[in-house]
Each structure stands twice: as C-alpha cells, then as structure tokens.
C-alpha cells in the first residue's frame, strides 16, 4: 500500500514538472527564432515585395509588436491549445502537426519494433557461450551498426534496393497512383481497418526502406544494452542462488536473467522512440518521408516561426510524456526502484 502511494506521489511530481519543462523549451525556441537571421515576412512575400505590403503583413502577423507582447501572445495561445498559423500558407499549425506526426510515429514505431526484434535476438544469441563466435559477432554488430553514419547508410540502402534492384520505392509514403486511406493518418492501421489491401501493400512497400534503415541503425543499441545487462545480471547473487537450487541454465536465463536485463532496455526503447519522433530527420530527408522532422526542417528554412514553435513544443511534450511513462513503467515493474 505504501509503495503504491509512493508511486502515485512520484508520478504526480514527474507530471507536475512537465509543464515547467515545456514552458522552458517553448520560451527558448521563441527566443532563438527571433535571434536567428532571416525575416519571416521576406520568406512569405519575397524581399522585393513593396514596403507597404511588408508592413501590412508584419502588422497582420503581430511582428510589429514588442518582443514581450509577441511572447505573451504566444504563451496565451499555447495555454489555450492554439499553436497559431503557418506564416507561409496560413494553415493551422495543429493541422500541420496532425498531418505529419502520424507519419513520423508510424515510421518510428515500426522501426523500433524491427530494431528491438533484431537487436535483442542478436544480443541474446551469444549469451549461451560468452566470448564465442556468436557473442563476438553480436558485439561487432552492436558496435558496427551504432557507428554507421545514418545518412550514408540511408543513401546506400536507397541506391541498392530502390535504384539498382528496383524492388522498393525510392521515397515517399504512399504510391502516387492510389488514394491514401482516410482516417487517423496512420496509413497501415487505416488501410487494414478499411480492408484496403492495395493501400496496405503500398504503405508497407514505402515503409520498408526507411523503417529498415532506422531499425538497422538502432538495433545495435539494443544488442549492446541487452548483452551487457544480461552478462551483469547473470553474475548476480540471486542467479547464483537459482543455479544452486538446481535450475537449468535455460531456466536461469529465461526466468531470472532476461526479465532483469530487459528493464534498462525498456528505458532505452522509451527514450529512443521519443527522440525518433523529431530526430529521424536524415531518414525523412533521404527517403522523402513526409514526417514531422522534415516539416520542421522546411519551416526552419522558411523562418516560419509558428510552425517551428508548434512542432518543437509538441515533440518536447511527447518526449517528456514518453520518458515519464517509461519511468513509471520501470518503477512499477522493478520493486528495487525507490522514489
């Protein structure tokens, strides 16, 4: 009962700190964008637009107000869930995020699942014979994939599987000749729910290369993390105790070693998926994946302040929420965690 109360208090504290963290991030982004060179009005109207048109646009966007007034207006909107409108085409930032976030989430989750399956399998495969061939291979795989430059791998994969072999699409998220399924924006889910198998197949085809590349790059982290944690766990006293009770090595590993070794891996997975939402830029650029990271890059280039601010705040919120959720999950699963 006491532990449950402690867990609740811990959860409340973590969640209470989240708005403070988001406010700090939002403020920092607001300030950095104003300091960066480049005028959003020029980006919208072009540098040759008449001065009167520029002044009118500046006034309409509120850019003629003092920095403090702009900041307060921005915070007020944020508190009311209003992320503003894109400067370039006046599209609500919420709509932009609504269109691009599912693409990034779909890519990230699929990549993470692939990475976890492959990475954990490789990490686990060598444990029966430490320093054996499989273990050595796993170690090399972990280090190698971790060290590969993402942009180079993505280009190579694209050139081999899409350009040379022609097996898969070079880029994009969906076949241009088909109509994307309506719904949540998660094309795999939407097409499966609507039994639209042509769309489902098209989505899978477009997902394979970007998700596979991301998975390849991430899987080494899982391999290394599992391998190290499992070896450390198998040296623990309670494992020795299990062995002394006459359990087979297989039972020792599966019942006692693996569950404990997977807890840190769970934390890594959580942080990875959170960072992937906004951090898969190189993959999104290479494969023309219309996700939130690609949109963020375009908005930065265009000095589209509201879009940059909105996307950064939403990504930050997701990172905070996922990390809190992972912490709570680990705390709930691991009785050794204290608050």
């Amino acid at each position: 009962m006491g532990r449950a109360r402690d867990l609740a208090r811990y959860s409340a504290t973590r969640l209470a700190l989240a708005p403070l963290m988001l406010w700090l991030i939002a403020s920092l982004v607001f300030l950095l964008l104003r300091v960066a060179p480049g005028d959003p009005v020029d980006a919208v109207l072009g540098s040759r637009a008449p001065a009167a048109a520029k002044a009118a646009m500046r006034a309409r966007l509120g850019l003629d107000q003092s920095l403090l007034d702009q900041y307060l207006t921005y915070l007020n909107g944020l508190l009311h869930g209003d992320l503003g409108q894109a400067l370039i085409n006046q599209e609500p930032v919420r709509t932009i995020i609504g269109k691009t976030l599912p693409a990034s989430l779909e890519l990230s989750v699929i990549a993470l699942v692939m990475a976890a399956v492959v990475g954990l399998s490789v990490g686990f495969s060598g444990i029966a014979r430490p320093e054996g061939t499989l273990d050595l291979g796993g170690r090399l795989y972990g280090l190698g994939t971790y060290a590969l430059p993402p942009f180079w791998v993505a280009m190579l994969v694209q050139l081999v599987f899409a350009v040379s072999l022609g097996w898969l699409p070079v880029g994009g998220r969906f076949p241009p000749s088909l109509l994307p399924p309506d719904g949540s924006g998660f094309f795999l889910l939407d097409s499966a729910l609507q039994s639209n198998w042509a769309a489902f197949r098209g989505t899978v085809r477009h997902l394979i290369l970007p998700a596979g590349t991301l998975a390849l790059l991430l899987s080494g982290t899982f391999t290394t993390a599992l391998r190290l944690n499992l070896r450390r766990t198998l040296r623990g006293d309670y494992v020795e105790a299990a062995r002394s009770r006459g359990l087979s090595e297989r039972q020792v590993i599966l019942r006692h070693g693996l569950p404990n070794a997977l807890l840190p891996v769970l934390t890594i997975a959580g942080i990875t998926v959170a960072s992937l939402i906004g951090g898969a830029l190189l993959i999104e650029v290479t494969f023309s994946w219309p996700g939130i990271a690609l949109r963020l890059q375009e908005a930065i280039n265009q000095r589209d302040y509201p879009v940059v601010q909105g996307i950064v705040v939403v990504i930050a919120a997701l990172v905070v929420l996922v990390s809190v959720a992972v912490d709570l999950l680990v705390a709930a699963l691991d009785p050794r965690v204290r608050y």
Binding site: P37, G38, D39, D42, A43, V44, L45, G46, S47, R48, A49, P50, A53, A86, I88, N89, Q90, E91, K99, M114, V118, S121, Q158, L159, F161, A162, V163, G166, W167, L168, P169, V170, G171, G172, F174, P175, P176, S177, L179, R201, G202, V204, R205, I208, L209, G212, A215, L216, S219, E284, V285, T286, F287, S288, P290, L294, E298, N301, Q302, R303
Partner: protein
C-alpha cells in the same frame, strides 16, 4: 537477419503495377501555395500552368499564342490602353463561365494582394470590363514588356465564384481555373490531376497526372532510373546526376527536353563599400573569371557561359556584353589599384550553402585565381544558407555573393529592372530601389532613364536601348554574369518526348504514354 526480413517483406511489393495512362511526374520542392497571387516556385507555377490558362502563351519561336485571349492585344491611346478580346467558350472547373468580369476579378485580386505584384509594378492603372468578353487595361505609361507580362502564370484567371471568400486573402490548397486538368487532391508533397471534361481546348493526351515531390536530388534521380516515375522535372538536381541523365538521353535510354534558358547565375559585388567601391577592382574580378572552364568543370557544359544580364533567347538579349576572361588584364587592373606583388586583394565570396552548384562554382573560381593570379587575388569562401543571404542582401552584408535570377515573365525588363532599377541615386550608388535590394547598391548616370526608356520603345530602337543598358552595366561591373541555365525534363521512353513552351513551362497535357504496338491511349 535484418536484410532477410527486408527482402521477405519486399516480396509483398515486387509485382509491377499494371500499365496505366496516368503519368507520374516528380520534381523537387514542396508546394506550400497554389494561389497564383503568391506562387513563385518552379513546382508551383508548373502545376498552375496545368490547371489554368494564361491570356497568352509564349511560343518557342518568341511569338504570342492567344490562349484565353481571342486574338492579339490591341494598343490605343499612344500605348496607354490595351484591349484584349477574350474567348467566349471557356468555363472554369466549377462551371462558372469565363468572361471579362472573371478576368478583371483575377487581375484586381493579384494587384491587391499578389506577393509578386512588383512584376506588374505601377504599369496597370486600372482594369475595365469593356463588354462581356473584352478586357481593357489602362496603363500609367506605355509598356512594351506588357506583352511578356500577359503570359505570366501569376496572372492566370481564377473562378470568381470559388474565390469569392478569398478576394483579399490567399487560397493555398485549391485551384479553380480553366486549364486542361482539374485538381482532385492536394497535399504539399503530392497532387492528383484529372482531365477537365469541359476543357475548351485540345483534351490532354493522358488520363491524368500524379505529381510528387521528393526531397533530395538522389531520390529524384533514383526514382527516374528505377522507373518509379515517368518524368522528372527539376532544375535543382545535382550536376553529376544531370550529366548522367543527359548522357543516358544521348545514348537513347531516356527522352530529354530542354526549355528556354531563362535562369541566370551571377555574382553581385557590393559597390558602395571597400574594396569594391573602386570600379577597376570590380572589372578586374569580371575578367578573372573563366566562364567556359567553370561551365565545363561544374556543369559538364550544361550551363552555358553568360556575359550578359538578359538571356539571349529573349528579344534584345545577348550573350556577350561583359569582357572575356583575361587574367593579364585583371593583373594590370589590380596592380594599378595597389595590389599584387605580396599584397593580394583578399575578399570573402559568399555562396548559398544549400545550392551545390554554387559551392562548386566558388571552388572553381577560387582555384582559377590561385592558378592565374596567385599574388594578386585571394578568394575566401563563405557558405551561408540562402534564407539568411536574401534577408541580409539589402543590408549590404556581402562583399561578393553568388545568386541566380529567373524573370517572372519572358521579357528583358524582368531581368534588368530587378537588378538595376533605382529610385534614389547618389553618384554611382543606389540608395533606394531594386539595385539596393539586390545587394549591389550600384547605379550609373543615365542608367535609370535608359532603363525606363527601354520599356517604351519597340523593335530595333528597343534593342539598341537594351544594348546601352547592358554595356553600362558591364562597364560598372557590379554584377558579373556567370552562366545561363535551362529547365530540363527527362522522361521514360514509353512516354512521348516532353516539350516546353517559350516561358519554360512543360506542356504536361501533351504527354502521352505509348504502349507497345500503340501510339495513343
């Protein structure tokens, strides 16, 4: 294991899609606005050209072809009134009839909110509907370049009904025009176009278009190579890949089409500050540049060397107003200014870091002066992202910066005015005006008068005036033209060869898929 998984999953999609008469066109650059009053990117104007019709189209031979106009414009009142008869058989995609009221609505809207309204400048004083199918423009001054302006994609008419609630604001994700295609689906990265059944002109030769944008040059190149797209339209593809595609076209593996050369690449020198206040130093730089070598090294000769500001394909355009490469003359000019012999002129050359060709050009020029003028000239390269450059250009932030320019309509004025026009001149310096916005801050006695004069003259007299402007500019050397670029399109062999019109727009409706044993769809 991962590769095996990928290969296994790939089997799901290895079947080639069935043949279709729809055509997939790939280009670079997201389309953020389809509003003709705002659209400025090549991808956006290309899309609008398929969805709408201009009043006139410029043919490759330089003549005007009436599109929504019924015949050539009629000038009266000493060139201050332009009367344009309009077609009577045209409808917008929403069924609204096209007439003088619709055309006037579109023009007034552009003049009111158009971000590119500077292309019209102060020329059109008012727009009048003379009758149901006759439009009359009252000009503030006679304007020869109006002829080219009437071909501008930005003046494409839009349905007054569909835009009734967007008279004074942009409509970004829809377009209701009169063109051979109507837009049935729009996202920034993908657009779907279907033939418009009530189109007044010749029906498209395909069953529709799927336009996609890919975010990098390798993806564009790869998509064409793998057969994933039927046609690649891009000016922003990397030089190596352009060259490879060009070679493949020569070998007969692809169709290649080249549009009129409308984009100039040039270097702007800051003429109102040291060191380039001295015109001799600017002239020295102008003759230090070996354009032919740069063209070969950077673009494999696909970008043509240029020694003028106006593309030669335009009336009055020329290839050679600026002097040729002459390192000896550069050395003499630099010596006369006190440089060389242990005291080289060092200056920063800024290039757009997000434009690969610019970096290659900068590196090649740097190597040329190291070879030809090692004791006289040192270029210090500085890559800056283009948004920052354009923002700071008018503030005089760059001593020398590489840029490019494509006129909004096919007329010399669309090139000269944005670079040279100046509303406030002090000596050889432009204090306020386009020359200041362009970062050169340069003008010359009589330049502005001659520039304005060029827009009132016709024929030989205009060509002579344009020639005077070019030579004044070459002598001032605040701009150094480098090369001339053309839009290119590459298509698979099962497509008819693509064709550009005289304004550089690809005529998408004329694309036709050729199945084996057939010639039509």
């Amino acid at each position: 294991m991962l590769i095996g998984l990928v290969l296994a999953l790939a089997q799901m999609g290895c079947q080639a899609p069935p043949p279709t008469t729809r055509i997939t066109v790939a280009s670079a650059g997201r389309i953020s606005s389809l509003d003709p009053a705002q659209a400025s990117t090549l991808s956006a104007t290309q899309l609008i050209s398929a969805l709408g019709d201009p009043l006139y189209r410029l043919k490759r031979d330089g003549s005007l072809e009436p599109r929504l106009a019924a015949s050539a414009p009629v000038l009266s009142d000493g060139g201050r009134t332009v009367t344009i008869p309009l077609r009577t058989d045209v409808r917008f995609h929403d069924g609204t009839p096209f007439n003088a009221a619709a055309m006037a609505f579109s023009l007034r809207r552009f003049l009111n909110i158009g971000t590119l309204s500077y292309v019209v400048g102060d020329r059109i004083a008012s727009v009048e509907e003379a009758d149901a199918h006759t439009l009359r423009l009252h000009l503030s001054r006679p304007s020869t370049s109006l002829r080219g302006l009437l071909t501008s994609i930005n003046l494409t008419p839009i349905s007054p009904k569909a835009y009734s609630s967007h008279q004074d604001r942009f409509l970004h994700d829809r377009f209701v025009g009169t063109g051979p295609y109507k837009l049935t689906r729009f996202s920034e990265h993908q657009q779907r176009l279907e033939p418009f059944a009530q189109y007044w002109g010749e029906a498209p030769r395909n069953n529709g278009l799927d336009l996609i944008t890919l975010s990098n040059s390798t993806a564009l190149y790869g998509a064409l190579r793998s057969g994933e797209v039927d046609l690649l339209l891009s000016a922003s593809i990397d030089e190596d890949q352009r060259h490879t595609l060009h070679q493949q076209a020569i070998a007969g593996d692809l169709h290649e089409s080249v549009g009129p050369a409308m984009e100039i690449g040039y270097i702007t020198l800051l003429s109102n500050q040291d060191p380039f206040q001295d015109p001799n130093l600017r002239r020295a730089l102008a003759v230090s540049l070996n354009r032919t070598e740069i063209s070969e090294r950077v673009s494999y000769g696909l970008r043509r060397p240029l020694r003028a500001l106006v593309p030669p394909s335009l009336p009055g355009g020329a290839l050679a107003s600026w002097p040729k490469h002459n390192p000896n003359q550069a050395r003499e000019l630099l010596r006369a200014a006190g440089y060389c012999n242990g005291r080289p002129l060092r200056f920063p050359l800024t290039f757009r870091s997000n434009v690969p060709a610019d970096k290659l050009l900068a590196l090649t020029w740097q190597a040329q002066v190291q070879r030809d003028l090692p004791d006289c000239l040192v270029l210090e390269l500085d890559g800056v992202e283009s948004t920052t450059i354009y923002r700071q250009l008018g503030e005089g932030a760059f001593k020398a910066v590489m840029l490019d320019w494509r006129g909004s309509y096919p007329d010399p004025e669309a090139y000269l005015t944005p670079l040279l026009s100046c509303t406030s001149v002090r000596g050889d310096h432009c204090v306020d005006g386009e020359a200041a916005i362009s970062g050169s801050f340069w003008s010359a006695p009589g330049l502005q008068t001659t520039l304005l004069e060029t827009d009132t003259l016709v024929g030989e007299a205009r060509r002579n005036a344009l020639d005077r402007v070019e030579h004044l500019s070459a002598n001032g050397a605040a701009y150094i033209p480098v090369w001339l670029d053309s839009p290119r399109a590459w298509a698979q062999l099962n497509l008819s060869p693509p064709k550009f019109d005289g304004s550089g727009q690809l005529m998408l409706a004329e694309l036709e898929r050729r199945f084996e044993g057939t010639t039509n769809n």
